[in-house]
Amino acid sequence: MKTKVVLNFSPEAANTPITHNLIAKHHLLVNILRAEIDEIGGKMVLELSGKADDIRKGIDYLKSNGVGVRPIKEGVRRDEDICTHCGMCVSICPTKALAFDSKTGKVTFTEEKCVACGVCIDACPPRAMEILI
């Protein structure tokens, strides 16, 4: 299974090789979607893949090391009322989560493909894209 989590690092936790341990000790595949972290702490958005039991143990490991863990269902959200379907986001989206549907003329957003990189946020002229961190 896969899950996305937001991690809050305290200064102590920021200096522990946490990502390495998640991979090596808890057998998880870790995809770093976003990281804003330095020696005084910060935030990270990870996509964890592995067995359900390993993910649970991995999250317990994080918590026991003083890392705040908050699961998220999605990293980027689109406000459907604000989107004008211009398509500015389409050519900059690295995973094609945002794509143009020539039949409807609309821009489609496939959340499963989104890696929450955030490149669309400041590219959207009517500001319809929001990153949930």
Binding site: C86, C89, S91, V107
Partner: protein, 389 residues
Amino acid sequence: MSKSYDEIRKKTMNGDVVVMTAQEFKEYVKANGVKKAAKDVDIVTTGTFGAMCSSGAYFNFGHSDPPIKMQKVWMDGIPAYAGLAAVDAYLGATELDDTNNMMHGGAHVIEDLVRGKAVRLKATAYGTDCYPKKEIDTYVSLKTVNQAVLLNVRNCYQNYAVATNSGSRTLYTYMGKLLPEYGNATYSSAGELSPLLNDPYYRSIGIGTRIFLGGAQGFVIWEGTQFNPGVPRTPAGVPKRAAGSIAVIGDLKQMSSEFLRGLTFTRYGTSLGLGIGIPIPILDEEMARACAITDDQIVTAMFDYSQPARSRTVLKEITYAELRSGEIELKGKHIPTSSLSSLYKARQISQILKSQIQKGEFMMERPVQSLPMDRVFKALDVRTEKEAM
């Protein structure tokens, strides 16, 4: 066989006018040929929705007691031009507050008003015998002001450039976010649905043409600024570069946020996302042929926006069909494309306009004067007083 404006208007009044959207008309011509299409169809509706920077609105706020001759005016912190009579002001779409906050500029204030919101109005003055008051701080909305009129000096460009970036850093431009090393390319036209591309020589679009403007009805009032009909054209007469444009006017109080939006172009500024639709009368076969044009026959030019010059070199000429495919090829590299103009809304506008004409709610007008074909687009050079004369 040809039709007159009067005949088409009469049919509209009688409710038996034949209207097609530009999209439908192109299909119809493909299936039935130009001759039959010219005979069968009276009006083709076009549409576009895109960033139209040279836009703004003027207001008359009404008089305070005691009265004030407003010298400086701010609407939600955005300066409006008040060098007019006492309580008139013009708010430009690209105007920013004194912190250059690009998330909320003049265009956003105009959108807020259209959404029915109240906007903080501040004004200062030096005070005169007839206008003694020196400052005012209040709220206004579209309900409280006398006039609120959208008046745009350049909208609805007939064709526009494609932007890309050969440089090593991301560029933030009015053509959007341009990724380095030709990472993407952006364009901004509704292509085959765009009003002026369906009337390349402005036969029916002129001063006095009634248009769909931001959800309301408005008019073409003049050529747009930078009107430049003399650019290179295809054999069919369609301009291959930014050519014509129109100045338009309409009642802001009747407009809808569905077709009027404040836009932010990061590190560039604000702009107004605006929907315009124009009906084109199929007076004869020549008009039908012009309206039959499709994206594969409309050409534009790609420019490198990392070149910081007035006249950039053309990298490549390209059709809208290629741009719409999502990827274009340049020097062996595949470049993903983005439109800045909403095809979805352009289609929606042409559909709404069609239904309004069919219901007799929108009357097509014959222009009272044609747009000038002899305009040239001049540059601004640093010159002496004598050289300018």
